[in-house]
């Protein structure tokens, strides 16, 4: 089936990217690349619920932080390899996504969105008050320096996030053309008509919420090991909220390619901005521009870059 072929092709591209990165000879490529790939997973995950199904999630930081903090909590109890921690993070976030969906998805879409805003704040409050994982002061670990076979730990983290990205994109793509994807699209276009046509809307929405949340949790799980330090401020930053929405909306929400375009564009520009230090002393300008670009695109190019490309193609064939 084409899905398997795509996975193989994606893994091949991934391997190419990895070895290209190694050939640069500078560790920073892996450190910066990790951040971009993290956003790719978040954007793709967001798009499954937002772009495909039409339900806007403002609480990406909540699901991301759940993954990060479940790692923090587990690490205090037992030593687990990172992939296992990622799975655990995914499970925790997925369950919370399911629970929240169950509470709010039977109402209008806007109430779900407002509830996601609420979730981030509630979670942050709980975590700030939970001393077991450091509370507001945060928690530290000692990060391993090297890993057998690969060498640097940064490369290992990069590789894991690369594999997760490939997984996320493959899942998103396989949903698009499937029965599930058609169901999502029907819900997005007209939920009442979808119900009347036999689509079990609540069940599908719960699937979308759980899957989206789980992927975000998996993206967040290695965060403690990435920076060796984790506190509520860094886990719940606004960056994640705005980027996970801006990247799919700017790239185009109807397909898995959209979040990819949006991430590479926005993520690349942001990384370049922080390296070139043109906004020295004003780190918020970086993220302010993302907000401005988001608003501009939402108003002027609602279907994102993909939409612009498609309409240009249609005009040229007419």
């Amino acid at each position: 089936m084409r899905n398997h072929l795509f996975l193989v092709a994606a893994l091949a591209v991934g391997a190419l990217v990895f070895f290209l990165a190694r050939s640069v000879g500078n560790e920073y490529v892996f450190v910066a690349g990790y951040v971009v790939l993290q956003y790719l997973v978040l954007a793709t995950a967001w798009n499954i619920l937002g772009g495909y199904t039409g339900y806007v999630n403002f609480g990406t930081p909540a699901f991301f932080a759940l993954g990060a903090y479940s790692t923090a909590a587990l690490t205090k109890l037992v030593t687990l390899p990172l992939p296992a921690l990622m799975v655990a993070g995914g499970v925790v976030s997925g369950v919370i996504g399911l629970a929240m969906g169950y509470l709010t998805l039977r109402l209008r879409g806007v109430f779900f969105s407002i509830a996601t805003l609420a979730l981030a704040v509630v979670l942050k409050t709980f975590i700030t008050n939970w001393s077991f994982i450091g509370g507001s002061k945060g928690t530290y670990i000692v990060r391993p320096m090297t890993v057998p076979l690969l060498g640097s730990y940064s490369q290992y983290l990069f590789l894991l996030m690369l594999l997760l990205s490939i997984g996320a994109i493959t899942i998103a793509r396989s949903i698009e053309r499937s029965r599930l994807g058609y169901g999502f699209a029907a819900i997005r276009d007209d939920e009442t008509a979808a119900e009347a046509s036999g689509v079990p809307t609540l069940k599908l929405k719960l699937i979308a919420t759980t899957l989206s949340g789980a992927l975000m949790g998996m993206a967040g799980a290695p965060y403690l090991y990435y920076g060796a330090y984790l506190n509520p401020e860094s886990a719940f930053t606004l960056d994640y909220a705005v980027n996970s929405i801006a990247m799919p909306l700017i790239g185009g929400t109807t397909s898995w390619i959209g979040p990819l375009i949006g991430t590479l564009l926005l993520g690349g520009v942001q990384q370049w901005a922080s390296v070139s230090r043109i906004f020295e002393g004003y780190p918020q300008v970086n993220v302010l521009l993302v907000g401005v670009v988001l608003v501009l695109f939402v108003v002027a190019a609602p279907n994102g870059i993909l939409g612009l490309l498609r309409s240009r193609r249609r005009r040229s064939t007419v």
């Binding site: 029965r179 058609y182 169901g183 699209a185 029907a186 997005r188 276009d189 007209d190 009442t192 008509a193 979808a194 119900e195 009347a196 046509s197 036999g198 689509v199 079990p200 809307t201 609540l202 109807t254």
Partner: protein, 245 residues
């Protein structure tokens, strides 16, 4: 006497202080052709919404094919065999005309009894339905490229795609030309011959009169008449409702 396919018992619905439906009782036998008429605002669409599960009624109960429908979500009722077309067409805007038909095929037909239709059969059935309503050339188009009339045909085709036992056509013929109305009537009659029970909600009197075996009249949320079409239209209350005092 076989039990009725649809048994509506004392169904009531309020919106705040406004009584939209007042203890409506109605029975439809399998294979019947029932017409439902009434002035604007009499509650016809509200009744349809309550029957199909889009709205929750506060009192009374609905039984379909022997099973109680109350509390079941709309998609369950569709799977059990109740399908409806919407008065104002509600197509899936980002999907093509053919893809619009895939949704009920994938989610209603496929959900019944075990076997999933293979993709080739789905495509074939979708093409067949488009041919029946005359939308074959528009199969790849988006709904926004359709005329009002074509959208109504798509609406009907989508309801038919669910392979219902009972089809409720809510003003499917509004705005159609004389011959187009005849086409739709012929189509509905063919469906009825295959055994599908049909409730036709319409304002076009000649269509309702020629099609219905039985006529039900709703005025201000109450059922005021239920019987043979020729007798019902001679009912003084019905005359009053349509022509005034």
């Amino acid at each position: 006497m076989s039990p009725p396919l649809l048994a509506v018992a004392e169904v009531g619905k309020r919106f705040g202080g406004f009584v939209a439906l007042d203890a409506i009782s109605l029975e439809v036998g399998a294979g019947e052709r029932v017409g439902l008429i009434g002035p604007n605002g009499s509650g016809k669409s509200t009744l349809v919404n309550c029957l199909c599960g889009t709205l929750r009624h506060e009192s009374g109960s609905v039984r379909f094919d022997g099973a109680v429908m109350d509390g079941l979500p709309a998609h369950e009722r569709t799977r059990l065999g109740m399908a409806r077309s919407f008065q104002l067409p509600r197509p899936f805007r980002s999907l093509s005309v053919a893809e619009n038909l895939r949704i009920p095929l994938l989610y209603t037909v496929n959900a019944r009894g075990g076997r999933h239709l293979p993709p080739t059969e789905i495509d074939e059935r979708s093409r067949e339905l488009l041919g029946l309503v005359g939308l074959t050339e528009k199969a790849g188009h988006l709904p926004r490229d359709l005329s009002q009339v074509e959208m109504r045909k798509l609406e009907l085709a989508r309801a038919m795609a669910a392979e219902p036992k009972l089809l409720i056509a809510d003003e499917a013929m509004a705005g159609l030309s004389h011959s187009e109305v005849d086409d739709i009537l012929a189509l509905l009659r063919r469906l009825n011959e295959r055994g599908i029970t049909i409730i036709l909600i319409e304002h076009i009197m000649r269509a309702v009169m020629s099609f219905s075996e039985r006529l039900v009249v709703l005025v201000a949320g109450r059922k005021i008449a239920d019987g043979l079409p020729e007798q019902v239209i001679r009912n003084p209350e019905v005359e009053r409702a349509y022509l005034g005092e």
